[in-house]
Symmetry: C2
Subunit: 248 residues, 2 copies
DNA sequence: CGGAGGCTTGAAAAGTTTCAATCAATGTGG
DNA sequence: CCACATTGATTGAAACTTTTCAAGCCTCCG
């Protein structure tokens, strides 16, 4: 009984953009059957990275973008002085590596925060394909543009908002990103350490810790280590907009 | 004698991507003659905006990107609460509007900081063309990716660096961007007000002012209003890397 | 000339960082 | 299997940077 199934799955790593649960978040959006097939041809699916493993490393030759299937990835830049700067967290359905498309080397390193499965998209073949399929090119422009906007949002958060506002914003962002998947938007496990959060948000670890406990005392969240429960989402949203309220 | 020349220039606004002095900064990079012609067909050159005029406005239909020919543009987002957040300054040879390519409306407003000349690139026709010319598509991916990296750089500056470091970095950035043009990298006129600088760098105007005078007292710059002279570029570079030095 | 806006300066207040110490959780080796 | 080392998270108090508020100055332009 297993035989015929095995035969049908000769290439098990190749046959699933069609039924991938991430498809509307990830690339295939707006492609027809035929085009999806061509996309699948170039996608290497099902690569697994364990917690702490590098998906790619800054300054090594840029070959591929990676779509997160499950798990989580953090990207970071090592500055000349050796400091790490976390530039982003990537959840399932999100595409890592777009910021490297302007050079021959990766602009940042990408590390798996937990056991993580990704699809690899070699850029040279991807560019060929985007050239052949206008919708895919459009989608790619879309994704990159979105990345620019995200980064602007982050810059805004960092330049204008207090520690509480930044952390509330991060929690809400994670919540909605979990929510888009089948997971609970109010109760989840943070894939990253306090250190990563602090680094990403431009704060000291101690500040992050203090804000978490402050939120907890105010009944906004319940946090034990990386386990987080959002108890009052609306209040958290209010926190992120606090900066506005004051100036009106 | 003028007649035949006039005839050749029937469309004076259309005939200059070839000899444009910005061509290696801007789009035409790596295109052949024929391709350049096709690019020129879709580019509307020579639009002029006066100081303070909007090149495009946030939330209005997204139609075009704009390449700065001369002058300077600032982009900014108006948040729900009505605050302005400056997201970037664009100098000659730079492309404005890439962050809007993910939606049907402009993600930010673009305002001319001084009398500014731009080339308009309608996106629908641009996407057609990038589809036809792989090099142009590649170049566009390149530009957008660079924009992501720039924004990450900015986020880094905002999250990790002091007021002095931020301002030194901005001055050096402007310097190198002026330098790439025919202009002096050490003596120039800031196109933006202190207010814009402060907003962009996430500081209070007063802080910007103080740092300027501090730099002046230290002999790093000479500043009178918007006129700036960089007296000691190496020292300024040291300032930007000060954060590194401390941690080693 | 006078007003308006932009720029500068000072002093107090606020928020965040830094330093230091403690605690909890986890894993290792005796 | 328990003591111990290690790592990450938390808490407190002092130090520092930046903001805020307030006032004055300069300059450009009607």
């Amino acid at each position: 009984m297993a035989q015929p199934i095995t035969l049908r799955q000769v290439s098990p790593l190749k046959a699933s953009c069609h039924q991938c649960s991430l498809s509307n978040l990830c690339l295939p959006l707006a492609l027809n059957e035929n085009e999806l097939d061509r996309l699948e041809d170039i996608v290497q699916q099902g690569r697994i990275f364990n917690r702490g493993e590098l998906v790619f490393e800054q300054s090594t030759p840029f070959r591929s973008c990676f779509a997160v299937r499950s798990g989580a990835i953090k990207t970071s830049i090592i500055t000349e002085s050796g400091e790490e700067q976390v530039t982003g967290f990537f959840m399932p359905g999100e595409l890592v590596g777009l910021d490297s498309m302007s050079s021959d080397a990766y602009a940042c390193s990408a590390k798996a925060l937990e056991r993580t499965s990704v699809c690899e998209l070699p850029v040279d073949r991807l560019e060929e394909l985007t050239h052949k399929i206008p919708e895919l090119q459009h989608h790619f422009f879309h994704l990159m543009s979105q990345e620019i906007q995200n980064s602007h949002q982050l810059a805004m958060l960092l330049s204008k908002n207090t520690a509480e506002e930044r952390i509330a914003a991060l929690l809400l962002s994670l919540s909605s990103r979990f929510g888009r998947r089948r997971m609970s938007p109010t109760q989840f496990s943070l894939p990253m350490a306090r250190n990563d959060i602090a680094n990403f948000l431009g704060l000291a670890v101690e500040t992050v810790s203090r804000v978490f406990t402050r939120f907890q005392n105010q009944g906004l969240i319940r946090a034990r280590g990386r386990e987080v429960e959002l108890l009052d989402i609306e209040a958290l949203q209010l926190v992120t907009r606090e900066s506005s309220r004051q100036r009106c």
